[in-house]
């Protein structure tokens, strides 16, 4: 899986594609950790191109959220598809990782 990265100044958008799982989640999580270390702790993960997420993908998002919050930032997710929303809801993780409809909405206030 590839992901695009867009530094919009006030926040960084990461755009993973395809399956967000055991194979593809670790590189994205590593990138989030690097961004947070560089002081870019406001991150939007744009999930519009992700068609499947598994528990490892969720773990990367939760881990990224924790890292960002510890540095006074946040990680928000945008444009999640049905499967992603279903899994977030099933695990109740939508309570701490609430999906925004668009990147524009997610970045609100940044």
């Amino acid at each position: 899986m590839f992901y695009e990265e867009k530094d919009a100044g006030g926040y960084v958008a990461l755009v993973p594609e395809g399956k967000f799982n055991l194979v593809s989640a670790p590189p994205l999580k590593a990138r989030i950790d690097d961004l947070v270390r560089e002081g870019k702790a406001r991150i939007v993960v744009d999930l519009s191109a992700v068609d499947f997420i598994d528990s490892s993908g969720l773990g990367a998002l939760i881990g990224g959220l924790k890292a960002a919050r510890q540095q006074g930032g946040d990680l928000r997710i945008a444009a999640a598809g049905d499967q992603v929303k279903a899994v977030l809801k099933l695990t109740n993780l939508d309570r701490i990782l609430s999906p925004y409809a668009t990147v524009e909405e997610a970045r609100h206030g940044w």
Binding site: L22, S55, G59, I62, K66, T91, L93
Partner: protein, 392 residues
């Protein structure tokens, strides 16, 4: 004549059943390096030889009497035969006397964890030939590479066995309730687990505790964490109600889960066989239901899984399991094949609601369905029902 059973033969038999993709690369390399039409990893069991990875020859098994590699394994050093027709041990075996009419053979024994030779990396040619000294050394080197792959595979298989042996193996010593569970890991080991145990509470009541957990990720790393969550929950369960046990488990495992960046969903409940009283906690698992003739109801709560950086309250909820109802808990490996859709899952319920089915049969129906629909994740199901035998 079958070979003497020994630890080497038994290891070969066990490995012959394990996934073999990890050997393909080395076998292909051997075929290319020696320019031979056939290269294979053959495991030599007591009665059969198993070709588990090969180029130019089908995988499968032949009777051990028809094998060349049994001799290589027996002498435990490289065997090279310029022309198999000229060797009375091999001249009449089917692959020499008939198609593919192999002539040349070279094989290096590969060893298992017992230290005994369990099979060979071998090459065959259709014309007589000889290996040079460097080529023999190279065959030895490739055999050593393959041995390491076999060791990894065996280690994984043993870890999986350890995990399986930690599952409950006996029905609970508690009249009035029937329970069954099964886990089918996507790899040798995995992050799914189930458990049950009998809890004697302070009032002298006996309840069955049933647990299904799913640690994120797959394979050995997830299984290590799963073992911890299982053991810690067991430990705390003796002293707390189910809510307290889950909260204590979260506190105890928090460091290890967070340090590894992993979370675990958990559904844990306790059923009183006499009254059907059920108390439970759903820590982000979301996949437990009571199913019966009056329709299904989900046993879900709003709580987070264990191991996120937020400590939740995990207060227990209650319900009642009637005698004509089933308690069914599955892992998301089952849910995935149903398109992660609860409504689709409900359409599958009638198939398991036949009162004539035992809990073990129902578990098999659920797990086999998921596995046959190409589940990519670990697949687990636990089913319990009251049997009405406990009227004391």
């Amino acid at each position: 004549m079958p070979l003497e059973p020994s630890s080497g033969r038994l290891e070969a038999e066990a490995l012959a059943k394990a996934p073999a993709e990890r050997y393909d690369r080395v076998v292909r390399l051997a075929q290319a390096i020696f320019g031979a039409p056939i290269a294979a990893l053959n495991l030599v069991g007591t009665e059969s030889q198993y070709t588990v990875a090969s180029v130019g020859y089908p995988t499968g098994s032949i009777p051990v009497e028809e094998s060349v590699c049994r001799v290589t394994v027996g002498q435990d050093e490289i065997l090279e035969v310029r022309d198999l027709r000229e060797d009375p041990r091999f001249a009449s075996i089917p692959a020499v006397a008939g198609p593919p009419r192999v002539r040349f053979y070279a094989g290096v024994p590969v060893h298992g964890q017992s230290g005994q030779a369990i099979g060979t990396l071998c090459i065959f040619d259709l014309v007589p030939r000889e290996l040079g000294r460097t080529q023999r050394e190279m065959l030895g080197d490739l055999g050593a590479v393959l041995e390491r792959e076999l060791a990894v595979q065996e280690e994984m298989a043993l870890a999986g066995q350890v995990q399986r042996l930690m599952l409950p193996s006996e029905p609970p010593d508690l009249p009035g309730i029937e329970v069954a569970g099964r886990v089918q890991p996507a790899r040798e080991a995995g992050g799914d687990f189930y458990d049950w145990l009998v809890i004697d509470d302070r009032y002298g009541d006996r309840q069955l505790q049933v647990v299904l957990g799913d640690v994120m990720g797959k394979g050995l790393p997830a299984s290590l964490i799963a073992s911890e969550v299982r053991a810690v929950l067991r430990g705390h369960s003796r002293y707390y109600d189910i809510g307290g046990a889950v909260r204590s488990t979260s506190q105890t495992t928090r460091h290890d889960l967070e340090a590894n960046g992993r979370f675990s969903t958990l559904w844990a409940g306790r059923v009183d066989p006499a009254s059907g009283r059920l108390s439970y906690v759903d820590a982000g698992h979301g996949l437990a239901i009571i199913a019966g003739p009056r329709g299904p109801r989900r046993l879900i709560q709003e709580y987070l899984p264990l191991g996120t950086f937020i400590e939740d309250t995990w207060m227990q909820a209650s319900d009642t399991l009637a005698e004509d109802e089933l308690l069914v808990i599955v892992s998301d490996g089952v849910f995935d094949v149903l398109g992660d859709d609860y409504d689709v899952a409900l359409t599958k319920l009638p198939a398991i609601l036949d009162p004539g089915l035992s809990c073990a049969e129902i578990v098999d129906i659920v797990v086999d369905y998921a596995v046959s629909h190409d589940a990519t994740d670990d697949v687990t199901a636990v089913v319990a029902r009251r049997t009405g035998e406990d009227r004391s």
